[in-house]
């Protein structure tokens, strides 16, 4: 051992302390940066008895990161479904916030509530058939019901259109993230090969993967050269050195007949029932489910209600003409309709259903046609039920009222059975929607708390603890002081030696 070797060792100590401090400084300044992984300087004794920083490693926890990505995908999926359903459910709400204390909206604006209002108005009219005002109220109630169905169907269109746009946005985000991933990944591979610090780049890469996981469920693996391979959770390659391209054509306005396009990765469909490699989670899955399954099902229910409403209020031939005339739409119809729709043609009726202008006083119609019949053809008299033209005839009104309670046939595809009364069907439809909303909301908050937990676990495992860094800083400070002391001591020894000579 020589004094000069002592100087070397002290020198190496200063170098190490410098690197360690800079690592700590980096950790402290990034303590609040989301996605930042703590770095540690690994210190080794060198062969001269000195010290050196062998490497700066980034604390990573692949298992927790994967868990967070999975939780993020699931939470984003449920959140998309829940947001859409909440928008739909708002149209049938009968909470005090959605209703007025009296009048037509006292039970909210759901088709079921409005159907109830129509039945109530018809009941009043049948007890006072000579009262024109009662007839006008009944027609007004019918109009509100038709508008409620229109509004429900419009909301379905809005929800589906928005989901379609959101899918387009999601696809754009994923594509942009995949492009960025390419350069970052290349830099990491280069950096690792040339032994550079790539911690920051790795953080960025993880953040990008997290962003992609928000939209599409992913699984990732790190290759021996440090590069990343990214797949959808269904196994379609998203990134392997070069990014795949997601393609999606937005449909614009998605009406009751619009189907919406699927998302493709390099030509392979990853959403929709026809896809063999359909992704399992992520916002895109939630949005697709909303656009293609949930909202269309509600639309189908509204269409069934509208179609059967037209059927229930249809007018049959009352004349003795042979052959008999066909049944025609009565109180409820669609613009330009010349016949009662058949059950196979119910699609989109909820958007179109209106009260027949011939019975609507605000459009120059006559509300008493509701009592007498002949709404479909006021001039011919062939569809008039009130043959004696009696002012207090209520036979037709009672017929209409009972038709609301009579079992009718509904398309089972709408998911609410095939036979029930209009009133019951509207009730079941409302319950179906609120039940779906309730479940989606519960799922969304459950998945969101799972995501928070996963995020906390990852943050605790790889994040920075300021106190730990400061403590380490203190240690380094002491060791710096000691090294400095050592240096002055060694120097004074050297000077004593020199002056002694």
């Amino acid at each position: 051992m020589t004094l000069s070797s002592a100087f070397n060792i002290i020198n190496s100590s200063f170098g190490t302390i410098g690197t360690q401090s800079s690592t700590i400084a980096s950790n402290i300044s990034n303590a609040s940066t989301p996605g930042y992984s703590k770095q540690t300087a690994n210190v080794l004794t060198d062969r001269f008895g000195g010290v050196r920083v062998a490497s700066v490693t980034r604390v990573a926890n692949m298992a927790l990161a994967t868990q967070l990505n999975t939780a993020t995908s699931a939470a984003a999926e449920q959140s998309a479904i829940s947001t859409g359903l909440a928008t739909l459910a708002a149209t049938v709400s009968d909470s005090s916030t959605a209703t007025s204390s009296t009048g037509g909206l006292q039970n909210g604006d759901s088709p079921f509530a409005q159907l109830g209002n129509l039945a109530t108005a018809l009941t009043t009219y049948q007890s006072q058939p000579s009262n024109v005002a009662s007839g006008q109220s009944a027609v007004a109630a019918a109009k509100t019901l038709a508008q409620s169905l229109n509004a429900g169907a419009t909301t379905v269109t809005q929800v589906r259109t928005k989901a379609d746009q959101d899918i387009a946005d999601a696809v754009k985000q994923v594509n942009s993230a995949l492009t960025q991933l390419q350069s970052i990944n290349a830099n990491i591979v280069d950096g690792l090969a040339t032994n550079k610090d790539v911690g920051g780049l790795q953080d960025q890469r993880d953040t990008l993967v997290g962003q992609i996981a928000q939209q599409i469920g992913v699984s990732s693996s790190i290759n021996p050269d440090g590069s990343l391979s990214l797949y959808t959770d269904s196994g379609v390659t998203l990134f392997q050195g070069i990014p795949s391209t997601l393609s999606f054509t937005p449909s614009g306005l998605l009406g009751p007949n619009g189907a919406g396009n699927q998302v493709y990765v390099n030509g392979t469909p990853i959403t929709g029932s026809s896809s063999n490699m359909a992704v399992q989670s992520g916002a895109i899955v939630g949005l697709t489910q909303l656009r293609d399954t949930i909202a269309p099902q509600y639309q189908a229910q509204l269409d069934q209600i509208a179609g059967n409403l037209i059927t229930a209020f249809q007018e049959t031939d009352q004349s003795t003409t042979t052959p008999g005339l066909p049944a025609l739409p009565g109180l409820f119809t669609t613009p330009g309709a010349t016949s009662v729709p058949t059950s196979s043609n119910f699609t989109g009726l909820a958007n179109q259903i209106v009260v027949n202008p011939t019975v609507d006083p605000t459009q120059g119609g006559d509300a008493t046609l509701l009592r007498d019949g002949g709404i479909s053809s006021p001039t011919s008299g062939n569809y008039s039920y009130n043959t004696t033209n009696a002012a207090s005839y209520n036979g037709r009104l009672n017929q209409l009222l009972s038709s609301l309670q009579t079992p009718m046939s509904f398309a089972p595809a709408a998911g609410l059975g095939s036979s029930s009364s209009l009133s019951d069907y509207a009730q079941t439809s409302m319950s179906w929607l609120q039940s779906a909303n309730n479940q989606a909301s519960a799922n969304a908050s459950y998945q969101s708390s799972l995501q928070q937990q996963a995020s906390a676990a990852l943050s605790n495992a790889t994040g920075v603890n300021l106190d730990a860094e400061l403590t380490q800083m203190l240690t380094i400070e002491s060791s710096y002081t000691a090294s400095a002391k050592l240096l002055t001591t060694a120097q004074s020894m050297l000077q004593s030696l020199v002056s002694a000579v």
Binding site: S459, T462, V464
Partner: protein
């Protein structure tokens, strides 16, 4: 022992989600404590929401039925009052007629009885409630009975005059009427004359009413008759009795024929009175049904309200407690956040 670490970022933000949640819960609870109901019924009830709303619409229907029943009841009461006055007049006429069935002189006072009462009967039968002619049956838009004494001569009067002419071979103003025997008069009154008040003669000459009575639903699934009509036997017979007095009471019949006229009128009017009483008891039954329906509705509505209260309403005491708990929780969250942010080694290190 597992070495557990916590990152500063997490430590500082750990309370954030719970604060956020508490704040949104606070808003919900505020709404609930103001309205007394769940803030979002749909979200709270889920699949039960349809059932809940069905109870509400059911209750609305019941409230509407109560209002409607008042109208029906009012109409029935007016009908009853009118029938009462018709019956009272009929009984008074009978009291006045009975002595005349054995009177030795033919008195033209019978004609006055007939004219006054028939006019009165027609006007009573044409009573309205609101705009509705209550004796019109379904046809409430037209006066049920035509004016018998109208100018030009009403079809009903013409038809009676013609029947007389046909039966006797001379008109009512002919002096030959004095020769009509008691049995001739009897067979005319119970034959061609009585036929004027039945079937198509009645509906074409006398009445515009519909024989179909108005009905109304008074409770779910329960329909009652809410009117009677001018085509009931009681009114037909009364018109018949009064018309025979009015037409033949002052034409100068012989004593025997005049006595037969009086006794036939008494019997017809008496029959009419009891028939009207029958109608009245039928209507009374309907009124009774309405009262019962109202009782049923009120108890049913109370039950529905109770059930709805159980489904919709929040427990006020529970809300108050939750509000207090939540406020305390929020306060301690804020305090903790402030304290945790102070818990930092840097605060305790001596400044160089």
């Amino acid at each position: 022992m597992a070495i557990s670490t916590v990152s500063t970022a997490y430590l500082n933000s750990a309370l954030l989600p719970s604060v956020r949640q508490a704040q949104s819960q606070l808003a919900t609870l505020e709404t609930e404590s103001t309205t007394g109901q769940y803030a979002d019924l749909g979200l709270q009830l889920g699949g039960q929401n349809g059932y809940e709303l069905s109870l509400r619409t059911q209750d609305d229907l019941l409230q509407t039925l109560t209002t409607n029943n008042n109208f029906s009841d009012n109409k029935l009461t007016t009908t009853q009052t009118t029938l009462d006055s018709i019956r009272t007049a009929a009984q008074a006429t009978v009291t006045n007629l009975v002595p005349l069935t054995s009177a030795s002189t033919a008195s033209s006072v019978m004609q006055t009885y007939g004219q006054t009462n028939l006019a009165q009967l027609i006007s009573s039968t044409n009573t309205t409630a609101g705009t509705d002619y209550i004796f019109g049956g379904e046809n409430t838009g037209t006066p049920p009975l035509n004016d018998y004494y109208a100018t030009p001569t009403s079809p009903a009067k013409t038809a009676i005059d013609n029947a007389f002419q046909t039966f006797f071979g001379f008109g009512v103003s002919s002096p030959q009427v004095a020769t009509i025997t008691s049995s001739q008069m009897q067979s005319f009154l119970s034959g061609p004359f009585a036929a004027q008040f039945q079937g198509s003669n009645w509906t074409s000459n006398w009445s515009n009413a519909s024989s179909v009575n108005t009905t109304a639903t008074v409770a779910p699934g329960q329909t009652v008759q809410t009117s009677t009509n001018a085509n009931i036997t009681g009114i037909q017979n009364l018109a018949q009795g009064y018309a025979m007095l009015s037409e033949f009471g002052g034409i100068g019949l012989g004593v025997a024929a005049q006595q037969t006229l009086a006794s036939t009128a008494v019997s017809v009017i008496n029959h009419a009175s009891s028939s009207i009483l029958d109608t009245q008891s039928q209507l009374g039954l309907a009124q009774n049904q309405i009262t019962q329906a109202n009782d049923y509705i009120s108890s049913q509505s109370t039950m529905l309200q109770t059930t709805l209260g159980k489904i919709d309403d929040v427990n006020a005491a529970q809300i108050a407690t939750e509000l207090t708990t939540l406020t305390t929780q929020l306060q301690s969250s804020y305090q903790l956040t402030a304290q945790i942010s102070k818990l930092n080694l840097a605060q305790y290190l001596p400044t160089a």
